[in-house]
C-alpha cells in the first residue's frame, strides 16, 4: 500500500465530517430542546427522505464490508445474510411499521407501556433496547477499526484504537447537538453516497466480466480454491450438525431481528402518519434490496478478481474485501485510478459507520432518558428533575464510552457476525413483546415483563457461554474456557424462549386484561386515532 490513498481517503473523510458537522449546526440553529424535536425531528420528514434515512440506518458497515467479505471467503454461505437482512423487512412492513407509528411516541416501550402497568414494562423494554443498541454499536466500531487498520498498513494498533475513539466521540457530538433532525440528514447523505459507491463498483465488476454473471461465478469458484462448492451452501455452515443448526439460528435471528431494532423503530416516528411510515418502508425496501443484490456481485467479484486467499491475508474475517476490490478495479497497485477508488470506498465506509453509530446512539439515548430515567425518577422524588432531553444528551455520551470500550475489545471478530448477535438479542427480547401487545387481547403486564427478560437474559447468557466468548482460538478470551453452548448465534433457542416466557407470564398472572385498553390499542394502531 502506498501513501497516496491514505492522504486522499483522509481528505475525503474530513470533507464528509465537515459536511455533516455543517448540517448539524445548520439544522440545530434556533432549535429549542423539546423532546419532540430531539427524538423525532418534529415528525415532519417526507416518506422518501425517511426511506433513505432508514436505508442509511440499516445498511451498516456490516453489510458493505462484512457481507461482501463473507461472500468473498465462503461464497454462497455469505449470501444468507443478504437474503435474511432483506426478507426481514417484510416483517417490519406487514406487522410493525404502521401500527408502531400509530401507537407510540418515541420508543418501543411507548407501544407496550400504553396497555400495561407502565413502570416495570418501561424499565424492561428500555433495558433490552439499550442492550441491543450497545451490541450493534460494538459491531460498527469494530468495522471502523479494521478499516483504518487496512488504510494505515494493518500494523498500526494505536491508529486503530484512536479511530474507534474518534468515531465514537464524533457521533456523540452529532447526536447531542443535532438530535434526530441532524442524524436523519446524515443518514440521507450517507445512503446516497453508499448507493452510488456500491453501484459504481458493481458496474466496474460486471464490465470486467463483460456483463457475464456466469463468467463471474465461474471465475470466483476457480479462484476461491474450493471449486464449485464455493457456489453452493455448506462452506462455512456445512459439516457437523452444530454448524448447520448455527446457520438456521442465524437465519431466524436475521429475519426476526430487524423488527426489534430500536433505531429502526424510532425512525417510524419521524414521519407524520402511518401511511407515510408505510411509504418510507417501501422506499427503504427498494433501496436495501438493490444494495444487497450489489453486495452479492461485489463479494463474488472480490473472490474472482483477488482470490479468497488475498482477502483473508488482509483481514482474517474478510472485512476489507471491498476496499481491496476497489483498489484492483481502479487499476491495481501504483495506479492513480486504484488509489482514487480505494480512497473513495474507504471514505464511504467511514461515512457509513459514522452515520449508523449516530442513529443507534440517538435511539439508545432515547431509551435511557424516555424509558429508564423517566421511570426510575418517578419513584425517587428527591433531587431536582432534569429535563428528559438533557438526560438523553448525557446518556448519549455514556453509551458512546461503553461502545468504544467494547469495540476495542472485540476488534478481531467479523462485523457481519457481530451484527448477527445484535439481531438475535433484538428478536428474542423486543419482537415477542411488541407483537403480543399489538395483537394479543389477553396480554398482561407480567407477560410483557417476562417476555422481555425471558428473551434478553437467555440470549445474552448463551452468547457468554458460546464459542464466541471463550473456548476456541478465535474467541474474545481465547485463554479462558467456560463454553458449553455449542452455537455461535443464540437465536434458535432464545427467540422461542422470549415468546414462551411472554405466554407463560400472561397465563400465570392474576391480572385481568383490560378490554378497553386493548380496544384502544387496536383502534389506535389500525386507524391512527389520536396518534402523536
Amino acid at each position: 500500500m502506498n501513501h497516496g490513498h491514505e492522504t486522499l481517503a483522509l481528505l475525503l473523510f474530513s470533507a464528509f465530517v465537515a459536511t455533516t458537522l455543517a448540517i448539524t449546526t445548520w439544522v440545530s440553529r434556533n432549535r429549542h430542546g423539546s423532546a419532540e424535536e430531539f427524538y423525532v425531528g418534529g415528525r415532519l420528514f417526507s416518506p422518501m427522505e425517511n426511506g433513505f434515512a432508514i436505508a442509511g440506518d440499516y445498511m451498516s458497515a456490516a453489510s458493505f464490508l462484512g457481507i461482501s467479505g463473507l461472500i468473498a471467503l465462503y461464497g454462497y454461505d455469505g449470501m444468507l445474510y443478504s437474503v435474511g437482512f432483506l426478507v426481514a423487512w417484510l416483517v417490519v412492513l406487514f406487522l410493525v411499521a404502521e401500527l408502531v407509528r400509530n401507537c407510540g411516541r418515541f420508543t418501543l416501550a411507548d407501544v407496550v407501556a400504553s396497555r400495561m402497568s407502565e413502570r416495570p414494562v418501561r424499565i424492561a423494554a428500555g433495558t433490552s433496547s439499550v442492550t441491543v443498541s450497545v451490541l450493534y454499536l460494538v459491531a460498527q466500531m469494530v468495522g471502523a477499526g479494521s478499516l483504518v487498520g487496512l488504510l494505515l498498513g494493518g500494523s498500526s494498533g494505536a491508529a486503530q484504537t484512536w479511530t474507534v475513539v474518534g468515531v465514537g466521540a464524533l457521533m456523540v457530538v452529532y447526536v447531542t447537538l443535532g438530535g434526530m433532525r441532524a442524524t436523519t440528514w446524515i443518514q440521507i447523505v450517507k445512503a446516497v453516497l453508499l448507493m452510488a459507491g456500491a453501484l459504481a463498483l458493481t458496474v466496474l465488476v460486471l464490465v470486467r466480466f463483460g456483463g457475464d454473471f456466469n463468467q463471474l461465478l465461474t471465475t470466483a469458484a476457480a479462484r476461491s480454491g474450493h471449486g464449485l462448492d464455493f457456489l453452493a451452501p455448506g462452506l462455512r455452515y456445512g459439516g457437523d450438525w452444530t454448524a448447520r443448526l448455527d446457520f438456521i439460528s442465524l437465519g431466524l435471528a436475521l429475519v426476526l431481528g430487524t423488527a426489534g431494532l430500536p433505531h429502526i423503530l424510532s425512525r417510524f416516528y419521524t414521519v407524520p402518519t402511518a401511511r407515510a411510515a408505510r411509504r418510507s418502508v417501501v422506499w427503504s425496501i427498494g433501496l436495501i434490496g438493490s444494495f444487497y443484490l450489489m453486495t452479492i456481485v461485489l463479494g463474488f467479484g472480490a473472490a474472482a478478481l483477488l482470490g479468497s486467499d488475498t482477502v483473508r491475508a488482509s483481514n482474517a474475517a474478510g472485512n476489507t474485501a471491498v476496499p481491496l476490490l476497489a483498489h484492483d478495479l481502479g487499476g491495481g497497485a501504483g495506479s492513480a485510478g486504484g488509489t482514487v477508488l480505494f480512497a473513495v470506498v474507504a471514505a464511504i465506509a467511514f461515512a457509513t459507520i459514522l452515520a449508523v453509530v449516530a442513529g443507534i446512539t440517538l435511539a439508545s439515548s432515547a431509551s435511557v432518558a424516555h424509558d429508564l430515567y423517566a421511570s426510575l425518577r418517578s419513584r425517587s422524588k428527591r433531587g431536582k428533575p432534569y429535563s428528559e432531553v438533557a438526560v438523553a444528551r448525557v446518556a448519549a455520551g455514556g453509551i458512546g464510552v461503553v461502545a468504544i470500550a467494547l469495540g476495542l475489545l472485540a476488534k478481531d471478530l467479523n462485523v457481519a457476525f457481530l451484527v448477527g448477535l445484535a439481531f438475535a438479542v433484538a428478536a428474542s427480547a423486543n419482537l415477542p413483546v411488541l407483537l403480543y401487545s399489538l395483537f394479543w387481547r389477553g396480554f398482561t403486564t407480567r407477560g410483557a415483563v417476562w417476555s422481555v427478560y425471558g428473551g434478553l437474559v437467555p440470549a445474552v447468557l448463551l452468547v457468554i457461554v458460546s464459542p464466541v466468548v471463550s473456548g476456541s482460538p478465535e474467541s474474545l478470551f481465547p485463554g479462558a474456557d467456560f463454553q458449553f453452548f455449542p452455537l455461535q448465534n443464540p437465536g434458535l433457542v432464545s427467540i422461542p424462549l422470549g415468546f414462551l416466557a411472554g405466554w407463560l407470564g400472561t397465563v400465570t398472572s392474576h391480572e385481568v386484561p383490560d378490554a378497553a385498553k386493548h380496544a384502544e390499542t387496536e383502534v389506535r394502531s389500525l386507524t391512527g386515532a389520536g396518534a402523536a
Binding site: 443478504s82 451452501p233 428528559e388 378497553a516 387496536e522 386507524t527 391512527g528 396518534a531 402523536a532
Partner: protein, 164 residues
C-alpha cells in the same frame, strides 16, 4: 409522485386541529398528560355526561366499519406473513439439510441455491408491492374516516370533563 404525497401527508397533520391535544395524553410520563386532562374545563359549563374514552374505544372496536378495516388487514397480512416465513425457512433449512439439491446446476454456474436466493429477493419485492397496493386501495380511506370519527368522539368527552 412520492415527494408530492409526502407533502400531502405533512399538510394533513397540520390540518388536524386535535393533533397536539391528543398527542400529549398517551404514554406520557412527565406530567403534561396530567396537566392537560386533569385541569377542569370550567368554561364549558354543565356538559351532559357522555361516554368515557374507554367506552368510545370499545364502541369503535365493535363497529362494523372498524371490523371491516381490521378484517381486511388481517386477511392480507396473516396469510402473506405465513407464506413468506415458510418460504424463507424452507430456503434456510434446504441450504443446511439438502446441500446436494441446492448445488444442482440450473444453467451454467448458476445452481438451485442461487436461483432460490434470488427468488427470495424477487418475492420480497413483489409482496411489498402487493401490500402497499392493498393497503392503499382497501384500507386507507376507511381507516382515515374512523380516525376522524374516533377523535371527534374522544374530544367531546375530554371537553365534557369525562377524560381518562
Amino acid at each position: 409522485m412520492d415527494k408530492h404525497e409526502g407533502r400531502d401527508a405533512a399538510a394533513m397533520r397540520f390540518d388536524d386541529p386535535w393533533y397536539d391535544a391528543l398527542a400529549s395524553g398517551w404514554g406520557e410520563l412527565d406530567g403534561t398528560a396530567a396537566r392537560s386532562s386533569a385541569v377542569p374545563q370550567q368554561s364549558h359549563a354543565a356538559p351532559e355526561r357522555g361516554p368515557s374514552a374507554a367506552e368510545i374505544y370499545l364502541e369503535v372496536q365493535a363497529s362494523p366499519a372498524f371490523q371491516q378495516v381490521r378484517g381486511r388487514y388481517r386477511r392480507f397480512v396473516v396469510p402473506a406473513t405465513l407464506a413468506f416465513l415458510a418460504w424463507y425457512v424452507a430456503y434456510v433449512v434446504a441450504a443446511t439439510a439438502a446441500p446436494g439439491l441446492m448445488a444442482r446446476p440450473v444453467a451454467g454456474a448458476v445452481n438451485v441455491a442461487m436461483v432460490a436466493g434470488l427468488g427470495q429477493f424477487l418475492s420480497t419485492f413483489l409482496l411489498t408491492w402487493a401490500y402497499a397496493r392493498h393497503a392503499r386501495l382497501r384500507r386507507d380511506r376507511a381507516a382515515l374516516e374512523l380516525r376522524w370519527d374516533t377523535q371527534e368522539l374522544t374530544r367531546l368527552t375530554e371537553v365534557g370533563g369525562g377524560g381518562r
